[in-house]
Each structure stands twice: as structure tokens, then as C-alpha cells.
């Protein structure tokens, strides 16, 4: 390159660089210091005082399409034109309006500004309207979603009570549900199978409603009552062919709905949806020592048949609801633990990222649990499938960002720790026993020693001695942990009552839409609100809702007090919006969930997603009928369950039918009852029940108290958690994320990371091997065999079948069982072993390697095998025991 060319290259480079430099500098550099000062001291305060209330982002208003809180918006103006034209008083509508000379433009509406202020505005416009308010951090993010078109989707239309369809086979139908079902079968050329037997129905009802098997006496009693109708009586009911006494059946349903087991069974269903767990999961997996209160609240709510809309409001905004007394206050606060139970990465260093993820988790859970809508997909972009723009996500985020979530944990153990809520003296029982004086003294001594150790270490550091950093950290942790352990009790050793829950922040946090969900890319402010597609036009912001007459009426009817939201988070509005009868999704979603829990699959199979990527309802009118039934019966879940159980559709047998199977192999049109594999909890509870070992008393607090505080693998150890043994119902077992009880894990219990409206049902060799080899199963078999031991030998098979399978054995089953039990009669003197001692060890070994024979000691011969226990265990391993027909 020649010298001349290189000189030109340098010059071009400089010009290019200068252009680059000055292109980045804002226009503000053309305004002088004095001009900016004038604006800041004379003009901005007036705009803030007199104009922002109706014309700013923060007020959420743009009357006349005009905003005055940025330079750009003032220059662009509103519906009438530019508000400010630099150096032109005649063209500046802002100036015209403050003069009060034009009847159409008189601002501010409360009164004319003083002459000095008007003079300042005149001067400002004449000097060129200098304005440093270049506050656009990122350009606004616009959405292209057509919300109005989106409202036409089936799930976003309000449910209507449909006409019950007519059918040629309407005589078959016993209830409205049956009419919808038979009409759908008519359409697809299907025929319903016959009804289940009384024995089958009794077992089905017990498991579905309580999660426990019926006792032999209950089976006998109810089978007799249900089978009251003779063949003469059935023939007097033409076309019905029912062999079940429906009145007696209804009595059984009512009895089971009143049993405490109902709440434990159905509460467990809801806890799947609420992703209930006793730990944070995530990176550190710290234990939640107080999550159990929410568990008990759910169980009690189902037992009391709390109206579901009330249940929703309490979980979303319980801490904000008006109360009559302290008991109600405490219960509502505990209910708000719904928002605090989710997965958290408590080791996250960036507090803002942690908080954003917490809010995201709350949005996802709330929307999916109650509305089966995946709003969280819109965190980074518009929803790809549903009409939910990114703005809707951040409108909800504004509500949850203005909420403080209290989930506990110690700062010494988790970077993102918070306090708990203290409910001492408000009614809930303590979750731990009272400390004795000695125990109290021990705790105080531990705390003082820990504090002294820290003090000593600090003194050493100050005197120049080297103290290992890890040591200091450990000592501080010990000090904080011992202090926290002491603070959990009063001075007299009475345990304090703590709970997880939420509170409103003192002030709402403004929320900006984040481009691609990135914290450092904020765009426009988004006012708090709810998804637009589920509201009427322009009724989605909290402001619009607070002045809506319908919403105000709902607040009044629900005794929620004032719909004002400015000083709070807006969660009460959100709760009432979800629980409203006008919300098209809420009643449908819960009705569908109930149907799923009753039948094994929902009318909409994707129970957690009613959006475009979810399934369509197989019986849309039936779904609406169920939703209307729920709302018109005061949102009573028991009423809906009862209605379903009384239907003939629910009482069908599970028998196979070739012709129907060829048309509808998945049984979408309900021509039979689905055979369902029981959940792990129900299998475990059933084993304990049939063996007579089940403890039906609710435990106090959590079993994790003995495991300690802290993260799994750091302060708390997995073997300790897994060694927790109990004979209470499985709903009370500790549910530590990633450390589920083995039996539940094997039988597909969800890990509680997400909303789980339906569980997978796998069939794997692990399950079979577990049932055949696990010591817990063997213990139950031994206990069951012990109960049968006193029965005459010729009745033992029948007794075992009645206990385990709730039916009498067939002749063939008796023959096979007898053969098995007598198999070793020739070589053995007795089939009876010392079961009391073997049940203590829990290990009776059969033969040389079988676990049913007692382990040989040095000088004794092995005892004869316990064939009875082996036979019992074989029945526990059957598919029939693990499924409900």
C-alpha cells in the first residue's frame, strides 16, 4: 500500500470512529447545562404533580392517548397531536391547554396553574423544550397475538348448562352423566358392558374414596346390602338390568365421604397438583421443616368439604383475606404455603435471578393447578401455542413480585434463606413436644458454646493469628443453627408455631417486561393484571378490575373487603379472578381433575393443559355439565364425587369386549370402567391395612424433625431420611425431593418438581422384584399370616382372600392354595413357626435362601418354612391386589 493510500485509510478510520462515537451519544448533548437545570427545577416538578396522574406509565394511564413522562412521548403527543413542539407555542397543545383559553383543552382539570408556572412553560418551549428524559432503556416489545380471535377457543368460552341429550337407550341412563355417556356411545357404535358386581363395587368405592381396602366384615355387610334386589325386583325395572340396590349404594358412598380417610386420599391427589414436598429440591435440597402444616390443611379442607372457590382464595391470598378470629387467620396463612412450597435453588448467588425464578415458579404452579394454562411459557416470548403474550406473564409477575414468600431455612445453610411466619398463640397446635428443663438448658449451653467459639476465633484473627476460613464459617453456622434451634422454643420450653406462607410487601414492585426473559434487558413497564384472553376486552389490568361493578360485587359476596389494590400486591384480585364463576376455566379444570381421579383418565386427558397443545374433551357437554353442577352446589367436591359415583357409567364393570375394543381401544367413550393400578401410597396403605398394622392416627408434625435442619448431603443425610419407619398412612410419609420413600418411587410417585395432575403408570420388573423381596412387604405378609393363624386350616385360604382381595376365592383358587400349604406336610411336622419372634426380626427364611426361614444360629437347626406367610406375600404380589377393577 502506498503512503498516500495509507494516509487516506487512517483518515477514513478516524471519520468512521468519530461517527461511531457520536452516533451513540444521546441528543441530550445538544442541550446546555442551564437548560437542563431549568427543566429539572421548573418543569418536571409541575409535570409530576399535575400531569403524571393521568398521563404516565407508572399511573398506567394515557388519557387521550397522551403520556408526558418521557421526552419522546411528549413530542409525539396523543390523539389530538403533539403536546410539545419546540420553539412553537402555537403548535404546542400542552401550552394551549394550560392557558385555559380553549374550552376543549383545559389542563390540569383541577384548576388553572399559577401565572408564574405558565410563564415557565412558555419559556421552556421557547428555549426549545430541553428535556433529558431519554428513559427508553429498550424499545417496547410488541405482540402480534390476536387476543380476540384467541377468545374463541373452546376452553375460553364460559361453560353453559347443556341440554341433556336424548338417546334411544336413555332407559339405560340413571343420571344426567349417563345420558351424556350413552349419547357418545351411540355416536360411535359402542355398547356399555354390564355393571360390576357388588363385591367389585365395594372394593372400588373404598379405594377410590378412601384409598384403603374394605375389611372382610365390611365386604360381607355391604355386599349383602347392595345385592338386596332379587331377580324379580330387577325385572320390574325394564331396561335397567341393575343388580345393585342404589339406595344402599348411596348410603355406602355417603359413609365413605364422611370418613377421615377421604381427606387423606383426596388430599393426596391435590398435593400432587400443588407439588407438595418437604424440601426445596434444586441445587441444595434443604428440608422444609414446616411444610407439613399445609399438608394437614389440605387434608382437613377435603374432609370438611370446603367450597373449592374458598379453597382457591385461601391458597393464593389467604394472608390477605378478612378474618373473624385468630384461628381463621392462622388457617388462611397456612393455606398460603401453597405458594411457598415449590422448587428453589437456594444456593443461587444472584438474588434477583433467584427472585425471578421464584416468581416464575409461582406463576407456573398457580396457573397450571387452577386453570390448566401454561402461562410460564410466555416468560421469554409470546406463547407459541396459546393466545398469551409476554405482557400477560409480566402482568402476573408484578403481582407475585410484590409478594414476600416465607419458607424458612437458615442463612447459615442456604444463601437465599427467609424467615418463617410465627403463628404462636393463634390456634394451630405445635409440631414438636415441649422441652424439659434439662433439654432447654442443653440447648442454651450449646448456643453459648457456639457463640463463644466464634468470639474466640474472631479474637484470634484480631490478634494476628491465622484461622482457617472454613473453620470460621463452620463456627458461624453452628452459632446460627443453635440460636435458631433455641428460638424455636419459648423461654419455658414451649414450642413456637411456625408456618410457611406469604405476605405482601410494604410497597408494590413495578415490573418491566424482560426481553427474552433476561434480567438486564428490561423493556416497557407492565401494569399488574391477569391474562387478557380470559377476560373481557380491557378488563385485565388490576386497575380496570378494581372499578368493574361485577368484580366489586364478587368481592362483596365473598366478603373480601375493598377491591383496592394500590397498596398491596393484587393477590386478592388474582385469587378472586381465579375463583370466580365467570372464569371459564376454573370449574372445568377441577371437574376434569375429579373425573380423572374417579375414572383414571379425564374428559380432557391433558389435565394440566387445556390449551391448544392439550387434548380436546371427549364429552364437552358433559364437562360443562359437571362444571355447572360444581358451581351450583357451592363448589362442593364431595357433591361432585357423589354425583359421579351414583352414575351407572361409574358402576360399569371392567370386562373386556372385543367389538367395543376394536372401535375404542382406549375407552375414551366410557363403555367400561378402566382397570387402574393403585398408587404407591394406596398399595402401601393396603398392605398395612390387611396385615392389621396400619396406624390411622395422624402424626403430629413431621417425621423429618429427627433428621435435622439443612440440605440433604450437607447437614441431613439420605440414609437417615430413608431409615424413617412408620406405620401411618403414606400421605404422612416424608416427601423429600429426590429422596422419596423407596416404595413410592418404585410405583411412580411424582417428584413434586412440577404440577402433576396425573401420574404415570409404569409396569416394570422392579415393581415385581420389590414386592417379592422387600423386607417391608415380607413383614406385612408375616403379620397377615399371624392374624390368620388362629383360623381353622380349611378356612384359611378364604380368610386370606377376603382380607387381601375383598372376595371369596374360587374353587380352583382354594384347591391350588391348599395344595401349596400342604406341599411340605409330608416332610414337616408342623407348618406353624414362632411367628412372634420372627416378626420381631422381620426376617423369616424359607429353605436355605428364602427369607421366610429363620436365620440359623451356631447350634440350632433352621425352623420349618412359614408357608402361610409366603402364600400371603404371593397374594400381595398379584396384579389384582395392586389394581382396582
Amino acid at each position: 500500500m502506498t503512503k498516500r493510500m495509507s494516509r487516506w485509510a487512517s483518515r477514513i478510520a478516524c471519520v468512521f470512529a468519530v461517527l461511531l462515537l457520536f452516533s451513540d451519544l444521546p441528543e441530550v448533548h445538544s442541550q446546555t447545562r442551564a437548560e437542563i437545570d431549568f427543566f429539572e427545577t421548573k418543569i418536571r416538578p409541575q409535570l409530576v404533580t399535575h400531569c403524571y396522574e393521568c398521563h404516565s406509565d407508572d399511573a398506567g394511564k394515557a388519557r387521550g392517548g397522551l403520556k408526558l413522562d418521557t421526552r419522546q412521548s411528549a413530542l409525539v403527543g396523543g390523539d389530538s397531536g403533539s403536546a410539545v413542539v419546540p420553539r412553537s407555542l402555537a403548535k404546542s397543545l400542552l401550552y394551549k391547554s394550560i392557558l385555559y383559553t380553549d374550552d376543549d383543552y383545559q389542563m390540569p382539570p383541577k384548576g388553572k396553574l399559577p401565572p408564574s408556572v405558565i410563564a415557565d412553560f412558555r419559556k421552556w418551549i421557547q428555549m426549545g423544550a430541553p428535556d433529558p428524559r431519554v428513559t427508553k432503556i429498550s424499545p417496547d416489545v410488541e405482540s402480534e397475538i390476536d387476543i380476540e380471535a384467541g377468545r374463541q377457543f373452546w376452553a375460553y368460552q364460559p361453560p353453559r348448562r347443556p341440554d341433556v341429550p336424548a338417546s334411544k337407550r336413555s332407559a339405560w341412563a340413571r343420571t344426567a352423566i349417563d345420558r351424556f355417556a350413552i349419547a357418545a356411545m351411540d355416536q360411535h357404535g359402542l355398547n356399555p358392558v354390564k355393571e360390576a358386581t357388588a363385591e367389585t363395587l365395594v372394593r372400588r368405592l373404598f379405594f377410590t374414596l378412601t384409598g384403603l381396602p374394605p375389611t372382610p366384615r365390611q365386604v360381607n355387610d355391604w355386599t349383602d346390602r347392595l345385592s338386596k334386589l332379587t331377580s324379580d325386583e330387577t325385572s320390574s325395572d325394564p331396561g335397567s338390568e341393575s343388580r345393585i340396590d342404589q339406595d344402599a349404594y348411596a348410603d355406602l358412598v355417603d359413609e365413605l365421604l364422611q370418613s377421615p380417610g377421604y381427606g387423606e386420599r383426596w388430599g393426596r391427589h391435590w398435593m400432587d397438583v400443588a407439588r407438595y414436598a418437604d424440601s426445596t429440591g434444586g441445587d441444595q435440597n434443604n428440608l422444609y421443616q414446616h411444610a407439613w402444616r399445609y399438608r394437614d390443611y389440605v387434608i382437613d379442607s377435603f374432609n370438611e368439604d370446603k367450597p373449592f372457590d374458598q379453597f382457591i382464595r385461601e391458597q393464593v391470598a389467604g394472608d390477605l383475606m378478612p378474618v373473624s378470629d385468630d384461628n381463621e387467620w392462622a388457617e388462611n396463612v397456612i393455606a398460603s404455603g401453597f405458594l411457598a412450597l415449590g422448587v428453589k435453588r437456594v444456593g443461587e448467588e444472584d438474588q434477583q435471578k433467584f427472585f425471578a425464578d421464584l416468581v416464575d415458579e409461582q406463576i407456573d404452579t398457580t396457573m397450571r393447578a387452577f386453570l390448566a394454562t401454561t402461562v410460564a411459557c410466555a416468560r421469554c416470548h409470546d406463547h407459541k401455542f396459546d393466545p398469551i403474550p409476554q405482557e400477560d406473564y409480566y402482568a402476573l409477575a408484578g403481582i407475585f413480585r410484590s409478594t414476600q414468600t416465607h419458607y424458612g431455612l437458615l442463612k447459615a445453610q442456604a444463601r437465599q434463606a427467609t424467615t418463617l411466619l410465627d403463628l404462636t398463640g393463634m390456634g394451630p397446635p405445635p409440631g414438636a413436644p415441649k422441652l424439659s428443663a434439662e433439654e432447654m438448658q442443653t440447648l442454651i449451653k450449646e448456643r453459648d458454646e457456639a457463640a463463644r467459639a466464634v468470639s474466640d476465633a474472631m479474637n484470634k484473627i484480631r490478634s494476628g493469628e491465622n484461622v482457617f476460613r472454613g473453620t470460621l464459617r463452620r463456627l458461624r453456622s453452628q452459632r446460627d443453627e443453635t440460636e435458631a434451634a433455641l428460638q424455636a422454643f419459648s423461654n419455658r420450653g414451649e414450642p413456637r408455631v411456625f408456618a410457611m406462607g406469604t405476605q405482601d410487601r410494604d410497597h408494590a414492585l413495578p415490573t418491566r417486561l424482560l426481553v427474552r426473559g433476561e434480567l438486564d434487558k428490561p423493556a416497557q413497564n407492565v401494569p399488574r393484571g391477569v391474562p387478557q384472553v380470559l377476560c373481557s376486552s380491557n378488563k385485565h389490568t388490576l386497575h380496570a378490575r378494581s372499578i368493574d361493578a361485577g368484580v366489586r360485587g364478587e368481592f362483596r359476596n365473598a366478603q373480601l373487603g375493598s377491591p383496592a389494590f394500590q397498596s398491596g400486591s393484587g393477590r386478592l384480585h388474582l385469587a378472586q379472578w381465579i375463583a370466580s364463576e365467570r372464569n371459564p376455566l376454573t370449574a372445568r379444570v377441577i371437574a376434569n381433575r375429579v373425573w380423572h381421579w374417579m375414572f383414571g383418565s379425564g374428559i380432557v386427558r391433558t389435565v394440566d393443559d387445556f390449551g391448544n397443545s392439550g387434548d380436546r374433551p371427549t364429552h364437552p357437554e358433559l364437562l360443562d355439565h359437571l362444571a355447572m353442577h360444581l358451581m351450583q352446589n357451592d363448589w362442593s367436591i364431595k357433591s361432585l364425587v357423589r354425583e359421579i359415583t351414583l352414575s351407572r357409567t361409574w358402576q360399569l364393570s371392567s370386562e373386556h369386549h372385543d367389538a367395543n375394543f376394536a372401535i375404542d381401544p382406549d375407552n375414551r367413550y366410557l363403555w367400561k370402567m378402566n382397570v387402574r393400578r393403585l398408587e404407591g401410597e394406596a398399595i402401601r396403605d393396603a398392605m398395612l391395612a390387611v396385615s392389621g398394622e396400619l396406624d390411622l392416627v395422624r402424626p403430629t408434625g413431621t417425621y423429618l424433625r429427627e433428621a435435622g435442619e439443612g440440605g440433604v448431603g450437607q447437614n441431613v443425610f439420605e440414609p437417615v431420611i430413608r431409615s424413617i419407619e412408620t406405620k401411618t398412612r403414606s400421605v404422612y410419609l416424608p416427601r423429600v425431593r429426590s429422596v422419596l420413600p423407596e416404595m413410592l418411587e418404585v410405583f411412580d410417585a411424582p417428584d413434586a418438581s412440577l404440577v402433576a395432575g396425573s401420574r404415570e403408570t409404569t409396569s416394570s420388573p422392579l415393581q415385581a422384584l420389590f414386592m417379592m423381596n422387600n423386607p417391608f412387604v415380607a413383614q406385612q405378609a408375616i403379620a397377615l399370616a399371624k392374624r390368620i393363624e388362629d383360623t381353622p386350616p380349611d378356612q384359611r385360604i378364604t380368610a386370606i382372600y377376603q382380607r387381601v382381595l375383598a372376595r371369596r376365592p374360587t374353587a380352583r383358587e382354594v384347591q391350588l392354595g391348599t395344595q401349596f400349604l400342604n406341599a411340605s406336610a409330608g416332610s414337616q411336622t408342623s407348618s406353624r413357626v414362632n411367628l412372634s419372634s420372627s416378626s420381631q426380626t422381620g426376617s423369616v427364611r424359607f429353605g436355605r435362601r428364602n427369607r421366610f426361614s429363620r436365620q440359623a444360629t451356631s447350634s440350632r437347626q433352621p425352623d420349618p418354612p412359614n408357608l402361610l406367610a409366603a402364600y400371603c406375600q404371593a397374594l400381595l404380589c398379584t396384579t389384582e391386589f395392586q389394581t382396582v377393577q
Binding site: D319, P322, T419
Partner: protein, 205 residues
Amino acid sequence: MLRPIIRFSLTSVLLLTFTAAAGAEEYFVRIEKVSGNRMLVVNDTSAGSGGAGGPGNAGGPGNAGGPSNAGGRGRGMRGGGRGGGGSGGGGMSNRSGRGRRRGTESAPANATTITIAPSIKITAAMRERRTFEFRVLAELPGGLRHAVFQNMKQPLQARIVTKNNAITEVNVITGDTDINQSGSTANGETVIAIRPKRPPRKQTP
């Protein structure tokens, strides 16, 4: 032949760096007083830029040619300086202003008043104990109405972040960042649970 190419590259890199540096700046200040939507700040020359954050600048938000006579100012800032909230002389030290004044009574001579627009993000902050790294914590709801400012008895250290000559963020170092986030208060008290706020009483129909 290489010399002009190298010269060209160096020039471009320098100028591009300069440009980028002019985009986002941070200033370490001491908040002396808070009144309404205004803060009286003093450039805090003792606070380094720490590990986190942008290019960092020991200057404050009011350097030569800037909106006041006090402290230092970032490069490339002229005229408007503080964008979203600059305010010049005659600030809080000379006016009673609206609302109660909070903070120390006598304002240092080199103090600057800045106006905090509602759109500016105000967060808590802390310095890592060992590395002194500056770490931004959670947002303070209510902005200048937060208890940290309402109850301030002594000056607060803070960092002001600007972008394109506009203040975008103020990060305030507080002893008690947020009782909801600390196991121990600045006084060393351990708080593991707080009483919930009492909701309104149910109206009898």
C-alpha cells in the same frame, strides 16, 4: 505496509472501547439525605469499583461539566448528565422541599442532589466479606419510600449505574438488607420468624 493497518485497527479499537464505555457507567456515592423523590449524594472516593459491574469509575455523578460542582463524573457525560434524574444547584441543602428530610442534618459542601424517577430500579447491595466484591441484591419495594431510607440515621453507601447518560439503577448497601433475607440483623440478632400482618376484620353481613 503493516503500519497503517495497525494504526487503523488501534484507532478503531480505542474508539469502540471509548464508545462502549460511554454507554454504561457506575459511580460510588454516599447518600446523605433523602427527601421525597430526591437524594443528596456525595462522591465516595473511598469505595472502589469492586469486582462486579461495568467499567467502574472513581468519579461521581457530578464531575467537571456535570450537573453540580461536586465529585467526579463519567467520561462522555455532558449536558444532561444524569438523564432520568439530574438536578443541579439549589438542591436539598437549600430547600426544605416536600416531605420530611431524612439522613444527616448538615450537607457536605460537595453534595449533589439527584432526582430519582419512579422508573429507576433501587436495589439493596452488599460487599462480600472476604473479597469485597460488590453484589447486587433484591429490589427495594417502594423505592425511596422503603424503610431503609425512611429510617436512615446515617449516610448510606450506594452505587449509581447509568446508561446512555440516564440513571438506571441505584444499589444501596444497608446493614439490614431485608429482614426477610437475613438470618441475622446488623446488630447480630437472629430472627427466624416474624409475625404476619393482621388482615382486616370480616364484615358481618
